[in-house]
Symmetry: C2
Subunit: 247 residues, 2 copies
């Protein structure tokens, strides 16, 4: 989707939050031609580490709330973080989950958009927005890494919109598991970590927690996915893939 020419719509954008602009720039045809795979060098890693504060947070800890002034960006070191908007009705629209090496804390109009909470005990690195901007300006390599990250944001937003468009709860759960598998580990792995609650999953998929529970039980009853306390295991790959592809 695309709006009209409305420069003022940007509002006041502190420099750090300019980073939000970049994903779209990258998604544009300008950059369509080619980048090879690349990893952080020790030097780049060190640069980031110097600017960062390491935080150890317990499960359930609120990292920031939507609407608060945004002065830092965060990178997940270990654990899982959930990002959600709280609606007037009290319902929570879950925007997504953040895993190892994911960046979060992008802002709009100088304030955080969503609330983020530690799903598990987590280690996160906090980097002041201005320091982060400064690093990116003088380190093309890091800037590039960052661009890769934010492009992923749009990609996953698209994927989410396709998942939620499905009507059947079972299909949504299957696609959700598939999404998690792709984000957190080996895309061909059969075991998938599920540290979040049914409520959180429901918030992401627009389902009630009861529907999530029933859909999971049905997948188990049909011999497609086994559920362990905080994980899922695909027991029938063929039927699982068929379910996921059935869009």
């Amino acid at each position: 989707m695309s709006g009209r020419f409305r420069p003022h719509a940007l509002g006041r954008v502190p420099s750090a939050h300019a980073t939000q602009l970049l994903p779209m720039v990258l998604a544009s045809p300008l950059f369509e031609a080619g980048l090879e795979r690349r990893r952080l060098t020790p030097r780049e890693r060190q640069k980031l580490a110097n600017a960062a504060t390491r935080l150890q947070l317990p499960r359930g800890h609120i990292i920031y709330r939507g609407g608060e002034p945004a002065d830092s960006i965060f990178i997940v070191g270990r654990g899982v973080v959930i990002s959600y908007a709280e609606l007037a009705s009290g319902q929570r629209r879950v925007a997504g989950f953040r895993f190892h090496a994911d960046i979060f804390g992008l802002a709009e109009d100088g304030r955080y958009v969503n609330t983020t909470r530690a799903v598990t005990a987590v280690t996160v690195f906090r980097i002041p927005a201005d320091a982060f901007t400064a690093i990116l300006q003088y380190d093309a390599g890091l800037a590039f890494q960052f661009l890769c990250k934010v492009v992923d944001v749009t990609r996953q937003a698209q994927r989410k919109s396709i998942i939620v468009a499905r009507r059947d709860a079972v299909g949504r759960i299957a696609m959700f598991l598939d999404l998690l598998r792709q984000m957190t580990g080996d895309p061909r792995a059969s075991r998938i970590d599920l540290p979040m609650t049914r409520t959180d999953i429901g918030g992401f998929l627009n389902l009630t927690l009861e529907s999530v529970s029933r859909a999971c039980r049905r997948l188990a009853a049909d011999g497609i996915v086994e559920f362990e306390p905080r994980a899922a295991r695909i027991s029938n790959r063929r039927r699982f893939d068929a379910l996921v592809a059935n869009v």
Copy 2:
């Protein structure tokens, strides 16, 4: 949502572009001071016009299909364009609608992601991607305009996700009308153009065309919105706003 560090996910992107544009964006005064409203100057307009081809297309014309090699970007001059993905099932997931001055034709891996079609008779301007890139690199003003546009993309994607999360068809239609009003005209106007079909609206809202029709009729029966052939008129502002806000 944010993915993991997967540089290769971008596909093949010439590093030259990424490294040049990023510092430029970050270094620009835009992100230091906040931005005031700004319009295309005659010179900027001329620059774009020189690079563009003007196309007159009839209603229903397919501008490009998802998967085709992407070599140009487009700007809507007059009329409305729809952007959608065709799923394996034959269903269409409508990503959004493009109006006057909207840019579309963003690509992934060198190919268009969605299919775009003229909802009405349209005038669109086609600009080769490389020419467009060149202009942006040497014209910070235009680059800024472009950034404003693409920021709008994320903003609207978020809004769509909230709309689709609603369960009631009537509420979704109301929010959709509200969205259209904000995009196409005076946000306080009571009359809203509706050039797209019920099927197209349903594709956007994840509803069948019958459900769209019923929801519209219900809004009419309740005296909240009147529907004319290709437009809607809000007859009870208070109740309409309450419906929209009831998220």
